[in-house]
């Protein structure tokens, strides 16, 4: 399991093609972070990851699937903000069996 993230951070897990693209399985990113900003935050760090990986992937926050809101879309007061200590994961298309 991933080490606990440092204070003021959350862990993000990269599986399969996400791990290949970032060359890591996990890293800690600064929290809080509105979920709608997740993809642009990752794109800044890993240029091209949005088109190659993120647009084909799903996202979980603390083991629950979450819809990533459109960054340019209208604000919704109920939308998810990733908090310190949360565990976020990038879930590319699965291939069990």
């Amino acid at each position: 399991m991933a080490p606990k993230p440092p204070q003021g951070h959350f862990n993000i897990l990269y599986f399969a093609s996400a791990g290949s693209y970032t060359s890591k399985n996990v890293e800690a990113l600064p929290a809080p972070l509105p979920l709608r900003k997740l993809f642009s935050t990752l794109e800044e760090r890993y240029q091209g990851i949005r088109a190659s990986v993120l647009e084909h992937s799903m996202v979980t926050v603390n083991l629950a699937y979450a819809d990533v809101p459109d960054e340019e879309g209208p604000e919704d007061k109920d939308e998810i903000v990733i908090q310190e200590g949360d565990e976020v994961a990038i879930i590319p298309p699965v291939s069990s069996g």
Binding site: A16, S17, T60, L63, P93, V94, S95, S96, G97
Partner: protein, 163 residues
């Protein structure tokens, strides 16, 4: 509620008539069959998925599986609970192997038992299809030529080249 098995070699979830697990070890056909055995069952259907030595005629050297373990177990449990209710199963067990799986060995085993064979056949097939569509496990094929790809079940496509 599901209970968590303390065995660190084979993380699992179980509840009445249900067992799901992930393991780094070779899979055992007899032990998964025994997990669903029931005096009320007239049929046990066992599915063994094995690793194939080629993709699109390209020779595959080995396959490697990785999982988001807590989520994969939870999804497997959801599938098992739903199918047990839908088909009136006496038992359902699913175990997926992780890490390197040599060619020709089992990567997944599914066993279901039911009073009659029709329900067991159907449930076994549905369990596999649901797993392939949903369980958070990923397969990487290492080709003899040297490169590797993460496979995606969704589209049956070629997967993404990872160098």
């Amino acid at each position: 509620m599901a209970t968590q098995d303390p065995d660190p070699q084979e993380p699992s979830l179980s509840q009445e008539g249900i067992y799901v697990a992930l393991t780094d070890s070779p899979l055992n056909l007899t032990s998964i069959t025994d997990r669903v055995r029931s005096p009320q069952a007239g049929a046990i259907v066992l599915f063994a998925g094995t690793t194939r030595d080629s993709f699109d005629n390209k020779p595959v050297k080995e396959l490697q599986y990785t999982a988001y373990q807590p989520l994969a177990l939870r999804t497997m449990l959801d599938i098992a609970v739903a199918l047990r209710a839908k088909h009136g199963l006496k038992g359902i067990a699913m175990v997926h192997r992780l890490g390197v799986v040599p060619i020709g060995e089992e990567s997944i085993l599914i066993a279901v038992s039911a009073p009659h064979r029709q329900a067991a056949w159907r449930a076994g097939e549905e369990a596999l299809e649901e797993c392939k569509a949903r369980v958070e496990v990923w397969k990487r094929e290492e080709f003899e030529a040297g490169e590797g790809v993460w496979r995606a079940n969704r589209d049956g496509g070629r997967g993404e080249r990872v160098g």
